[in-house]
Symmetry: C2
Subunit: 376 residues, 2 copies
């Protein structure tokens, strides 16, 4: 087995889990937030900066690397870790989410998905076998099954057919996986916003059996309370002794709510994307750096943050960099936002250890007082 999940304790106040996941490239503490390095780089960051902020695992995207530079090149380079100079654990998704997001550019059959590249329009085909072949070549510590992420809203009939195909595809992924000793293949639970379908999917996927399970198809446009409800309806059907990964979720409030419902792993482009657009997540709320009020504000982005950006730069300077379209703006803002989420998860783990995650949540929201949406 490529990974071992160690459940350390459960928060007496909230029921949230504290764990440790042993992977071929090191141990990670859960619950954890994973920065996203779509194209074999976490945008604007170096590996050393990610180490400095104590990122333990990053995610990279199979769809993007398959198209450019191609998984054969990454394999020839010695795998993704070596190619991008990241010595710690990596998780790759399967490309499923991206190809389904292509809309008119893709055609789904039982065999797989035919699609056109968003880069040059060239025709490609991804199937469970092909996705796993690519993920085997990339060599991440954790790889994801090729699934279909149903859109929201979607009618029940469609979602049921889709989750059942996802189950068949999951079995094909498991059969196609050539490196189970080096790479842990996670199954993905789908089922849209329908509790009975979530139950069906969870039972089918866990029946196949994987070293870890993801909850897919959330944070796709549904209201937040609905996402939390679906989580509550899904997680009871997942085994206690395996890690649970909520895909594509990364706003501070969603991280907290997810952990409280038993999630161990999260990823999202949110912190780096909004950073490049000039928005910071801080302990006292959102900071939109271009706002005129920051023009001559010589205080740091976040008064309670010890990150490189907050230790060295003022809001006035950060606003100047953003307005002047300087690369350093993306660097400093991205560093801060990633640090903020990593620090948040450190504090979450500490609160679980101290059996006070509900108190921590209240304290956090009292200061924080807003939610961050993907659209920002």
């Amino acid at each position: 087995m490529a990974i071992q999940f160690e459940l350390i304790k459960t928060c007496k106040q909230s029921g949230a889990r504290l764990g440790r996941l042993h992977t071929p490239h090191g141990v990670i503490d859960t619950p954890i937030f994973m920065p996203v390095g779509t194209q074999a780089t976490v945008k604007a960051m170096t590996p050393e900066e990610l180490e400095d902020m104590e990122a333990q695992i990053i995610l990279s995207n199979t769809y993007h690397l398959f198209l450019r530079p191609g998984h054969e090149l990454v394999e020839k380079a010695g795998g993704l870790h070596k190619f991008m100079n990241w010595k710690h654990p990596i998780l790759t998704d399967s490309g499923g989410f991206q190809v389904f997001s292509l809309g008119d550019l893709r055609k789904i059959t039982e065999e797989g998905v035919e699609f056109r590249s968003h880069l040059d329009g060239a025709k490609h085909f991804l199937s469970p076998e092909r996705a796993i072949e690519i993920e085997n070549a990339l060599g991440a510590d954790i790889i994801m099954a090729f699934d279909e992420c149903a859109p929201y809203p979607a009618d029940k009939e469609y979602v049921k057919k889709s989750l059942e195909r996802t189950t068949r595809w999951a079995a094909r992924c498991k059969a196609a996986h050539k490196k189970p000793e080096q790479q842990a293949l996670f199954g993905i639970v789908q089922g849209g916003m329908y509790p009975d379908l979530r139950k069906q999917s969870a039972e089918e996927i866990t029946e196949i059996g994987f070293p870890g399970y993801a909850i897919g198809g959330l944070s796709v446009g549904e209201p937040k309370p609905m996402m939390y409800e679906v989580l509550e309806q899904t997680i009871p059907y997942l085994p206690e002794d395996k890690p649970r990964y909520l895909m594509g979720v990364g706003s501070p409030d969603d991280l907290l709510e997810g952990v409280l419902r038993g999630v161990d792993m999260f990823d999202c482009v949110l912190p780096t994307r909004i950073a490049r657009n000039g928005t910071a997540m801080t302990s006292v709320g959102k900071v939109v750096i271009k706002n005129a009020k920051h023009f001559d504000d010589f205080t740091p982005l976040d008064p309670n943050c010890d990150c490189y950006t907050c230790r060295n730069y003022t809001k006035a300077y950060l606003r100047h960099l953003y307005k002047a379209d300087e690369i350093l703006s993306s660097r400093l803002m991205s560093y801060h936002n990633l640090y903020f989420l990593i620090e948040l998860m450190k504090n979450v783990r500490k609160a679980i250890m101290e059996d006070r995650l509900l108190d921590f949540k209240d304290e956090f929201f009292e200061k924080y007082g807003y939610t961050v949406k993907e659209s920002e």
Copy 2:
């Protein structure tokens, strides 16, 4: 006096100078290359990275900072050093070069230059007094006089009138300078490509008297041999005991040829600009990273370089980053190019110390074998 120039020795083989320039923010070794931080940031770099590569002094642009964020804000921040978090020496130009480059957007009179901002078209006025007022507010260790940089080609009559006005403006700059104990004001010699006008300008500017002298109006489109000739015709008229700064010059060959003719300081956007466009300066010649031949080249950019980029990344990865339009591409390429020029100047100083700069030049060009043009 804000600065002290210490002439350490002259290369017995070449006549090139080795010096030390004491400034309010530290000592710099000459000959030196100064990275350019136009908008209060050396593009894509942090101050710590510049320290790591042993940059000793950087340049920033008065025109840009005057327009955005405004020199009053920088002054309120505690000056440019504090605003941008750079603890070492800074040199600011006067904005003259930029406003003259605006073409139809500016109007020159004896009083100064009226121009329209390239950002929003707003009307502004720069004069010797105004430029110095702005530079005083920015607070660089070395500030430049407000001059007119004549275009190339330009007829002699025009260049003569222009240099004579530059002389009058230099005197006005000196009179307007409010902080001679904290900031050293350099005079600028103009005169186009005409030897007698260069002599006239050098005599007039040195007659006014400054703690350092710049040679302006070169690298403006003339052939390289012509630039070297003008340097030879100008430098004999500059005092031995003051630093000499060749403005806007930064290709490896020009640095060497400049040092051989007695220049102590250089600046140029070239290394960072071509880096963002995917071109590296290396010890074995130019590397255009997007070229297909680098697709699966797992060797570093430069086989003889110890910089962060060359120690950690392959050409294959750098090509991928460039093609994928990733910020890390600009970061890694900029780091390498700046390191390369700083390392080159370190080796130049060593060769002067060892009285073998002509040998060093031959060795360098044998490996290097090309010149880098601004247009790349």
